[in-house]
Symmetry: C2
Subunit: 301 residues, 2 copies
């Protein structure tokens, strides 16, 4: 798993901080999480392989989190995409896309599925052979969802030379899936640790975009390898954070600490801050394994 | 009149060419024409005084001409604007804006009026003391309008010391409006050229965005001081221009020549062209007073 940050800004416009967007690589698949205005320019700048983009997850329908989506869809359509694309987001997203396509008279050359998320607790919304995605509610001014991505263990590679020539098919299957196999005829147990290569490590990532400080989300993000959490403000504007349903850097650190995650990545910085050091200092005072998201930088998960 | 170009690109994404947007200054008022994705970032970069922005004209509902609008409206609302803003554009624009505001739960702190343009010939759609605007239909793949802006003559300044002490009110009014006045009592004719300062010059500008080569628009743009005309392609891709309902640089030059405009400005260049010299050479071969739009550059009209 790798996470490329495309934008670290918030709704308040800043010339050098683009609005929210993160690109997650899972094996050969790309997953875009949020798509603020101008995201397609960042994807071009960072030379993202858009044919590999299979899934887009939108946290909520504030402009700085999705106003780049229609432009991106139009551009990948002009680029003659044929691969299916799936979008997940709150109620309204499909209607917004459809209305634009209607007036722009857009005909898609690829299959586009828009899935509505509507849940009050964690809910698995997607699964394929590479990864699964859990959505969970965030407390913001409009319906808003966090996402947890769980990479799946790949099938294990069998050390075939060590196995009998007549080793049964069901044995291979069990070992590949990381299970031990008992050969009933011979009563021999074939341990998957002995007869397969060491298991690939699997990563997990949680994306928490735009929420008031809310410890109730800890249950949904517990123990992930990387937590991205918004930090729109610093201590100085803690009351402003609460009023606007946003989080401070310190509060994000507290969430990371309570959830026992491995690493915390902060973003969604208000343009009122000329520099970002204070965000890092505040969060690290609670949770040392914090870093600030940087545009164009990749974090290995 | 001054025209600042914010974007010279077309729907095909290019890292250094932003999508369509032009900012027209008329006296103290700013008028935005088209608002492609990222326009608010250009306005910030070029330090536009957004409080002076009173009117936005959208040519049509392809993404590269309006997908920056909702972001811009949200940002000027966050900046606590109170001044009224008027938007003009094709059917659908109001519905698109309204649907976004509904899902984003946006409350505006200023009055926003969205006017639908729907006409098959030229139609005056706006007038105030500074300027008037005529809309006219363009032939593109979706409903699309050109706009002609006519600056109004300011009221003339009267040379009051030269006039009799008891000069009548209706005489002042006539002279200010640039008319001669006959004093019926004395049978004296007061010529406005003699009793007022030399008239302010007035400018005119026509904006022709996204159209197939269409000489029928000549009647609507005849004699303007500056014509902005799209030139998505060069001769090399003339058939592609026709299929996609766009214009070549040479064809734009032909329109300018037929319409007897003073100056031609080209924009909306396809990203397939690495350099733009060919556009200038082709158009100038037909209409020498051509220049290419440049981002961040102002043309005095």
């Amino acid at each position: 798993l790798e996470l490329l940050t495309l934008g670290i800004g918030s709704a308040s416009v800043h010339l050098e901080r683009f609005p929210s967007a993160q690109l997650l690589s899972i094996d050969t698949e790309l997953v875009l999480i949020d798509c603020g205005e101008g995201t397609q320019y960042r994807l071009l700048e960072y030379k993202a392989k858009l044919r590999r983009l299979k899934h887009i997850f939108i946290s909520h329908l504030h402009g700085d989190h999705y106003q780049g989506l229609v432009g991106l869809l139009s551009s990948i359509n002009m680029a003659k995409r044929t691969e299916k694309l799936q979008i997940f987001g709150p109620k309204g997203l499909k209607e917004l896309i459809q209305l634009h396509f209607f007036y722009a008279d857009t005909r898609l050359g690829f299959e586009l599925a828009v899935h509505v998320i509507d849940t009050e607790t964690e809910l698995q919304i997607f699964e394929n052979s590479n990864f699964s995605v859990i959505a969970f509610p965030l407390r913001h001014r409009v319906p808003c969802y966090g996402y947890r991505f769980e990479e799946k263990a790949k099938q294990l590679k069998i050390l075939i030379d060590s196995l009998p020539l007549d080793f049964p098919t069901e044995g291979y299957k069990a070992l590949r899936e990381g299970k031990d196999y008992l050969d009933k005829t011979t009563a021999i147990v074939y341990s998957h640790t002995e007869y397969t290569l060491k298991e690939n490590s699997t990563g997990s990532f949680a994306h928490v975009s735009d929420t008031i400080y809310d410890p109730s989300i800890v249950q949904f993000i517990s123990g992930v390898d990387l937590l991205y959490h918004e930090a729109t403000f610093t201590d100085e504007h803690e009351s402003r954070a609460a009023v606007t349903f946003h989080t401070t850097a310190r509060q994000a650190g507290q969430i990371a600490q309570k959830a026992g995650v491995k690493k915390l990545l902060l973003g969604h910085f208000s343009s009122r801050y000329k520099t970002l050091e204070a965000f890092l200092i505040e969060a690290q005072s609670v949770f040392p394994e914090t870093q600030l998201a940087e545009q164009g930088k990749t974090v290995i998960i």
